[in-house]
């Protein structure tokens, strides 16, 4: 596994922000997320080749965000199955053009060749893929971090790749459904700690309960304070200025994403009855 940087995307970091990696079976390799540019995808592919000459049979995308999928193009020549949530293709179709323009604008030539590669196989609920004596159990989740979150469980090592359902140290980004995400976290919290955990951002194998509780505390605080603001008749702008600011000391990149999260939370929660 390769750890992404806890930064915003830039030419210097080539969009290398997300945790990406691969799993090697007896017959096949599965790549899990591919990084924020074609260049990161190529570096990941080179790492695969240093470890094994087995074919890359699967590229699994955990969700639509550009820092996780823009390296897909590096694997096209391997002719793998590209696997994602049943809603991933629609999300890529809707957002791809925008993401592509943004990555070229923000990163310049470093991002050259970064394109969306749509899934060739989808997961509606759960699906198991076999790498040759090594099974990966995929699970598609209801709308949470995005509307197309997918997790990967490697039975051989007991590793659960939660990707962006779990942010460690870096402030979570709400781009799906805040209430849905809180439900997912409640379910994860009821689950026994796996042997290993890979978050989408932040160090591998964080303390299971504390990592989940930290994220839940952040999302809960935002939800609670935004609900109170809506009930009090405060506007979206007033909520953005006040809600959740007590969480600031606990998270990296708070100033870059928190106010946007409040905007999203307000737009969602104002429709609650």
């Amino acid at each position: 596994m390769h750890a992404g940087l806890q930064e915003e995307a830039s030419a210097a970091n080539r969009g290398d922000l997300a945790n990406v990696g691969f799993v090697v079976g007896a017959a096949c390799v599965a790549v899990i997320d591919t990084g924020g540019t074609l260049a990161v995808g190529r570096a990941l592919r080179a790492s695969v080749r240093r470890v094994t000459s087995l074919p890359v049979c699967f590229v699994v995308n955990t969700h639509v965000h550009p820092d996780h999928v823009f390296g897909n193009a590096a694997f096209v020549d391997d002719r793998p199955q590209f696997i994602g949530h049943a809603r991933l293709a629609a999300a890529m179709a809707a957002r791809g053009d925008n993401y592509t323009r943004a990555v070229l604008r923000d990163l310049g030539s470093v991002a050259a060749g970064s394109t969306m590669v749509a899934p060739t196989r989808v997961v509606d609920d759960t699906r198991t893929i076999d790498l040759g004596d090594r099974l990966l159990r995929l699970r598609a989740w209801p709308s949470a971090h995005t509307d197309d979150d997918l997790t990967v469980f490697d039975e051989a090592t007991g590793t659960w790749w939660l990707s962006d359902l779990l942010f460690v140290e870096r402030v979570p980004v709400v781009d799906g459904n805040l209430r849905g995400w809180l439900k997912v976290l409640a379910e994860l919290r009821e689950t026994a700690a796996p042997a290993h955990v890979v978050p989408g951002h932040g160090p591998v194998d964080p303390p299971w309960e504390r990592a989940l509780d930290d994220e839940r505390r952040y999302l809960d605080t935002v939800a609670r304070e935004v609900r109170a603001a809506i009930k009090a008749g405060l506007t979206m702008q007033q909520a953005v200025d006040t809600a959740g600011v007590s969480e600031r000391p606990h998270w990296r990149l708070f100033d870059a994403y928190h106010r946007r999260n409040v905007t999203a939370a307000y737009a969602e929660l104002e429709w609650e009855d």
Partner: protein, 284 residues
């Protein structure tokens, strides 16, 4: 039918302005605002089409103010507020407020019309912003004078941003509306109400990566609100308004009555919402 005529006219206007945008707008990535908001080429064209040679007072501080964040958190959802500086009376009132976003594909984002029954000609909503831009609120008073408040806003990509964090849920809720009134309601006193409309309000400017086609725009184009049968707000709007259009406005209850909202979208589908109001302090 008048509705169809106005649709055609409006689209013609939008098309003209969009063409103007493409023809003369420089690529707007500037770090600094234009030195002179009057010099904006788009504004000159919009101004000519809306107001011809009429004088517009740029010292609008006694009439209208425009609040918008200098830097928006999310360019597809930028909250803005237009505040007028005096209460609506039958002798002096704001008849309409134009909201112009210079560098949007369709710069005339909204025209809000008010009456003395509005109580205050204030409006709050959320807009999409496609590029760093001047935003303008131009208030017209019942004596025919125009006053303009201007803000510079840093945000980009809001019109071409894809709609929706949860596309399936959004379409399932199309046309759902909510209306609420905050605070105590007293006869004869302006009170603020909020109208929420569940609608993709899509710009048609986000390309489908699979088909390589732009979906046609689909947006709310008209909003009418009355209280006890008297108009308090009418608005012509377009896809510069964010997904799930949201408006806060005022009305003056003369007694018990029903707040009624009617919304028409660009497919001529119409949606209605009602809210019974029982103000205190009334004789009824």
């Amino acid at each position: 039918m008048p509705a169809i005529c106005s649709t055609v006219l409006r689209h013609a206007l939008v098309a003209t302005l969009a063409a103007v945008t493409c023809a003369v707008a420089p690529p707007v990535r500037a770090a600094d605002p234009d030195p002179d908001p009057q010099a904006s080429a788009i504004w000159q064209r919009v101004r000519e089409s809306l107001f011809q040679g009429r004088t517009i007072e740029s010292d609008a501080s006694a009439v209208v103010a425009l609040d918008a964040p200098l830097r928006a958190e999310d360019a597809s959802t930028v909250p803005i507020a237009i505040h007028t500086r005096f209460a609506q009376t039958s002798s002096r009132y704001v008849t309409q407020v134009y909201l112009v976003i210079d560098n949007n594909p369709s710069p005339i984002a909204a025209v809000f019309r008010f009456t003395p029954d509005s109580g205050r000609a204030d409006i709050e909503t959320r807009v999409r912003i496609e590029a760093y831009t001047f935003m303008r609120a131009i208030a017209e008073t019942n004596d025919g004078k125009l006053y303009m408040a201007t803000r510079w806003v840093k945000a980009a990509g809001g019109c071409s941003a894809p709609a929706g964090k949860d596309a399936a849920a959004a379409m399932a809720n199309l046309g759902r509306m909510k209306m609420r009134v905050d605070g105590p309601v007293t006869v004869g006193k302006p009170v603020q109400a909020q109208l929420m409309i569940s609608h993709p309000n899509s710009s048609g400017l986000a390309m489908d990566q699979v088909t390589r086609l732009y979906r046609p725009p689909y947006f709310v184009r008209k909003v009418s609100v009355s209280y006890a049968g008297r108009v308090v707000l009418e608005a012509d709007v377009d896809f510069s308004i964010s997904e799930n259009p949201n408006f806060r406005f005022f009305f003056v209850p003369a007694g018990e009555g029903e707040l009624q909202a009617q919304v028409v979208d660009s497919k001529d589908l119409s949606y209605q919402e009602r809210l019974q109001i029982r103000p205190s302090g009334g004789s009824s």
